[in-house]
């Protein structure tokens, strides 16, 4: 592996009730996070292809971990998202290099499908920074019930020369979704949007 991983973490959140109403079955979402060394920290590096390759590796590893944490068949995943936090000796472009060029293909391969854009966020920050991973339906970005976000943080990451990379996967939308819009049973699944 090109990525030099210091730590892997998974988070599984299961919501059983909201505003006093039972959620049956509970909504569940998982995030898998890797804390890696940033090979480009502390200097300007023009060619970021090493980070792009790391993104490809982590796309597969983190998606597999998130799905395993949910304990579901990969093809039954409903929404996804990705995010990265770069330590203070890196640049925001390093997060972009990991997330955008190559990370998505293995995510979609693991899940079987994924016509929609994978929503993403990125930031630079210190240890314990909160990463809000945006979530959207994997086959149709306009499914309103699945617009969501999941906060993750690791108290000792990212160190100055590290990057924290996260992939989130769910088997459901928001707990009491009721603001209309496209619903998942109406997905056409042709263009990734509707």
């Amino acid at each position: 592996m090109k990525a030099r991983i210091r730590k892997l973490a998974t988070f599984v959140e299961e919501t059983r009730s909201e505003m006093g109403r039972a959620i049956e079955p509970p909504t569940r979402r998982a995030a898998a996070v890797a804390v890696i060394e940033n090979p480009c920290a502390g200097k300007y590096v023009e060619d970021l292809s090493e980070l792009m390759d790391i993104g490809e590796e982590l796309g597969e590893l983190l998606t597999e971990r998130a799905v395993a944490a949910l304990g579901i068949a990969p093809t039954t995943a409903e929404s996804y998202g990705k995010a990265a936090a770069v330590g203070e000796n890196g640049e925001i472009e390093h997060a972009a290099a990991i997330l955008h060029p190559k990370l998505g293909t293995p995510v979609r391969r693991v899940l079987g499908k994924g016509a929609a854009l994978i929503p993403s966020s990125k930031k630079r920050g210190g240890m314990g920074v909160a990463l809000d991973i945006p979530l959207g339906h994997k086959d149709a970005a306009f499914v309103r019930s699945h617009f969501d976000g999941m906060e993750v943080r690791i108290n000792d990451a990212p160190r100055a020369n590290e990057i924290m990379v996260a992939v989130a996967v769910t088997d459901s939308g928001r707990p009491l979704a009721r603001v209309g819009g496209l619903t998942k049973d109406k997905i056409k699944g042709e263009d990734g949007l509707r």
């Binding site: 210091r6 730590k7 009730s17 944490a69």
Partner: protein, 194 residues
């Protein structure tokens, strides 16, 4: 006593490969289970609360079993543990103390007679409050290599009338433990201390 109303469960697993030093042959794994429950005593002083400890026992067992599953499925791999509670703003610290007995009982039960006292901490706080849950060896509190802590928290909990209850387990010593003291191999295992 009141029923236990669970709003949300968060399970976190960390796999630590190294912290800048030589990676151990087996990575350290740490897991936390957090339950967000309604605080039945919020908003007023209730003198007689102790009966709620029995009500919490099934939840404790569920969480302890979930931790063992998250850490590989066998209680033999568990070497450290800890517990904690965060009480929402409309509750009192004493409500968090209700977790001592059921939380500790649950972990001993699933670990088959762990001898050491379960290290613990608690506080009153708002949503997103972080708690550093202390960790010690399950059979001998003085094992220095296993003194550890895991930071936990949930962005949207505890609400004012809620409590976050936490259990933590680990599979081994700190990843580069080297400050001497009692070793796990030297445990007598008679008094839970050494």
């Amino acid at each position: 006593m009141p029923e236990v109303r669970v709003r949300k469960i968060l399970t976190t697993v960390e796999e630590v490969f190294h912290e800048g030093g030589p990676p151990p042959s087996t990575p350290l794994r740490r897991a936390a289970a957090l339950a967000v429950i309604h605080n039945p005593f919020a908003g007023r002083y209730v003198a007689d609360i102790a009966g709620f400890m029995d009500d919490l026992k099934p939840l404790g067992l569920d969480m302890a079993k979930a931790l063992i599953t998250a850490l590989g499925g066998t209680s033999r791999s568990i070497e450290g543990y800890g517990k904690g509670a965060i009480v929402g703003a409309a509750g009192e610290l004493e409500h968090g103390a209700l977790w001592h007995v059921p939380g500790g009982y649950a972990m001993r039960e699933v670990l088959g007679g762990a001898k050491a006292i379960v290290a613990s901490t608690k506080k009153v706080g708002g949503p997103g409050t972080r708690l550093d849950v202390p960790i010690t060896h399950i059979n001998a509190s003085y094992v220095r290599s296993h003194f550890d802590a895991m930071e936990v928290g949930i962005a949207d909990a505890p609400g004012a009338d809620e409590m976050v209850l936490a259990l933590v387990m680990t599979t081994g010593p700190r990843v580069h433990a080297r400050v001497g003291g009692l070793q796990a191999s030297e445990i007598k295992g008679e008094d839970g201390l050494r």
